[in-house]
Point group: C2
Chain length 196, copies 2
């Protein structure tokens, strides 16, 4: 007989399948197909493994992976919020907190508490790991938008100042990746795919 613990874990594993249906505003590279949250989370995990050496501070890579893999699970209940949507707060809303409690709460208590703590650490963005995870989360759509002639910037009329403001947190995780990203933003203006 499987233990209650294992059954709870299997039920959680089934529940999070819903992450695959949550569409982001951003499109895949050189594509008009929207990315979903599971694909996005996988890509951030791969970026973390590949780019970890560029972190300015020492990071626990396993912790960062946990953060990027779970960071959007709350959107099963709370939905995706577009980063340039000025009407809505983007992190740690009451709705997301309820979602975290419900979904991670499906796990055995001790494990649920750990998952919620990792999710909160990511949201708060204060530890080295959270800073690096958040820099990955900001870098991916920048790469996608530049591959898509401006992508969501063009689609939703987002200008240089707003993009620069959102992206500069990349610097908190890695100054060398920020140098690359800042250059990409400036080039986008020169190419006319991002309005000043």
């Amino acid at each position: 007989m499987p233990t209650d613990k294992l059954l709870q874990q299997i039920n959680f594993i089934k529940e999070i399948d819903k992450v695959k249906y949550i569409q982001r505003k951003t499109k895949l590279f050189n594509s008009d197909r929207n990315e979903n949250d599971a694909e996005h989370s996988w890509h951030l995990a791969m970026m973390t493994i590949v780019l970890a050496e560029h972190a300015d501070a020492p990071i626990d890579v396993l912790k960062v992976l946990k953060m990027v893999l779970i960071h959007d699970i709350v959107e099963i209940d709370a939905g995706d919020t577009f980063i340039y949507d000025t009407a809505k707060k983007h992190s740690n809303t009451d709705e997301e907190r309820l979602a975290a409690n419900r979904i991670f709460g499906m796990l055995p208590k001790e494990q649920a508490d750990k998952f919620i703590a990792v999710w909160e650490e990511f949201e708060n963005g204060e530890t080295n790991e959270a800073k690096f995870a958040r820099s990955m989360d900001r870098l991916e759509p920048l790469l996608q938008n530049t591959s898509n002639k401006g992508g969501t910037w063009a689609e939703f009329g987002v200008n240089y100042t707003k993009v620069y403001e959102k992206k500069k947190v990349i610097k908190d995780g890695s100054s060398s990746i920020w140098d690359y990203a800042e250059n990409l933003i400036n080039e986008s203006v020169e190419k006319g795919i991002l309005k000043k």
Copy 2:
């Protein structure tokens, strides 16, 4: 100026976006929508984090995560092979080896070698980490098929003996997860969604 190393890594990150277009035979839970390799890899990573405590032998969770996150990247060139396709070998084909060399070879040399080694370790299935990673890879479609009234078993006429044969490697990673899985297979026969 970004270093050549960082530029190589960014090019690799762009290239692996193609994993999101590779359709598996298996469908999402309670769904008729095919799963793609990026979604599958994300789900295995989540399962690894959630179920790691059930591993029979000590495992390096970070290593297992690397395995499940990268294991299907070779399919960008080699395509997905259906596990019950008897005409084709399922691991470490020449085609997959060429794909590994080309795709991981986009990374800086030292990193490329590490990625290829992790992929080979997974394919060989001999270490504790590879055994656990492979048990995750076999468990996910079992859960999906039972949620889909037999799913690919029904669709492609796969019987109990073939399923049991493929799934029993779960035991090499975790005897408690295998107990659960074996029970699920037997129940599927009783429910008439898997033919004896």
